[in-house]
Amino acid sequence: MSVEKELKARRFQQVIMPHLDAAYNLARWLTRNDSDAQDVVQEACMRAFKYFDGFEGENPSAWLLAIVRNSCFTWMRRNHPSEVVAGSEAITDETTASGATILGVDNRELSSDPETLLIERRDRMQANELVQRLPAEYREVIVLREIEDLSYREIADVVGIPIGTVMSRLARARKMLQDSWRRTQAQR
């Protein structure tokens, strides 16, 4: 056993392991099930450990999450290729303006009393379902923003896209959420 390796393992445990819950949460949301999420996180952690020597950044959480999300998308391309939208930016641009106009009409009614809406008409199940229905690229940014509470800068680092793209993708994801929620309400 070499002292260097031992130290590396120790440092890895101190620096990276505390972010395992965040890693698992992201993988769980992206793969949509527990056992695949566990596989992906294990694989990602082994990769992280392998490349840990090269890690000198200040944000171990974002570093680990970036590896996890890449492992997730590799996994999805292999197992559910239809779920991963290629060139999702095109969709963002195409629908933003018209989507906003349609939503505008409905949301006037919805926002009449947001507090009551929160308490009475939505529950956890619904929250999870709404997020679950988003395409993977949009689900990813919503989970990182709303559940992991990352800044745009951090999301950009994790996903590997420019901040401007984070902004448009989040905006688009939120419109999808509004739209999806509106449809759920209409069915009741």
Partner: protein, 260 residues
């Protein structure tokens, strides 16, 4: 500012990511445009809702234990990459490979330390850690799940040729979770399982003469303790922090001494 421009800025606005001058311009527009204001409220309320109600999944403890121990093995064993000989990430194969590595490295420890008591103790310690990891695999923790001494003690009755002391420490904050049979040091032993919050403590017990004050050590990120008392050898292992782990051992010893 027109509505299209304003609506493009709503998302960064509610996230607090908008530059100050843009915030002012957007708020000016929201003052005069009820439609955009409504959209803004709806998006903000959705965001609040998801933050409050969206689930944050936490990693299962056995996953954490597996990753931690795999990292440890990689650091200490020249055979670390044996794991990759196994297909996929099947937890059973992973556990088997961990055990294999344990077996190989404890053999090395034996040679290094000589075949004396210390070498034997180191070997048992490794097996105890492996037992802890194995117990955390899904469905492996307990064969009899109960916090009742009256249920757990008789369960061992027909399965072992000795009667392990079964003590509930719920009053001390370490509730009994159950028991199972395990195989350690070439014999079938009793394993008692205790919990503290999300932490699991395994106590392995088998008959052994002599008296030994508790000895503590840390291995692979786990705390271990072993002692002999009343004709039994006890090995406890947990990822609990050292202070609480020692507290547990104190309670366990006190309770078993007063029971005998």
């Amino acid at each position: 500012m027109d509505c299209t421009h304003a609506q493009a800025l709503l998302s960064p606005y509610i996230d607090g990511e908008l530059a100050v001058d843009q915030v002012a311009a957007l708020e000016q527009h929201l003052e005069i445009c009820p439609e955009c204001r409504a959209l803004c409220d709806a998006e903000r309320s959705m965001s609040t809702f998801l933050r409050a109600e969206g689930e944050r999944f936490t990693a299962p403890i056995h996953l954490k234990a597996l990753i931690r121990s795999t990292i440890e093995r990689k650091a200490r064993s020249p055979f670390a990459d044996l794991r990759f000989l196994f297909v996929g990430w099947n937890p059973v194969a992973l556990a088997a490979s961990l055990l294999l590595v344990v077996a190989v490295s404890s053999g090395a420890t034996l040679q290094l330390m000589g075949a004396g008591g210390a070498g034997h103790e180191a070997m048992v310690a490794q097996e105890v850690v492996a037992g802890q990891i194995r117990s955390l695999l899904p469905g492996h923790l307990t064969d009899v799940a109960s916090s009742e001494q009256r249920t757990v003690k008789p369960w061992f009755g027909g399965k072992l040729n000795f009667s392990p002391p079964v003590i509930d420490l719920a009053s001390a904050g370490f509730p009994l979770a159950g028991g199972r049979l395990d195989y350690l040091d070439n014999r079938t032993v009793a394993a008692l399982v205790y919990r503290r919050a999300q932490h699991v403590i395994n106590v392995f017990v088998w008959p052994e003469g002599g008296d030994q004050q508790p000895r503590f050590e840390a291995q692979s990120g786990y705390n271990l303790a072993y002692y002999k008392h009343g004709g039994m050898e006890f090995w406890a292992v947990s990822d609990l922090n050292a202070a609480e782990f020692k507290e547990f051992i104190d309670h366990l010893r006190t309770a078993s001494e007063s029971a005998t």
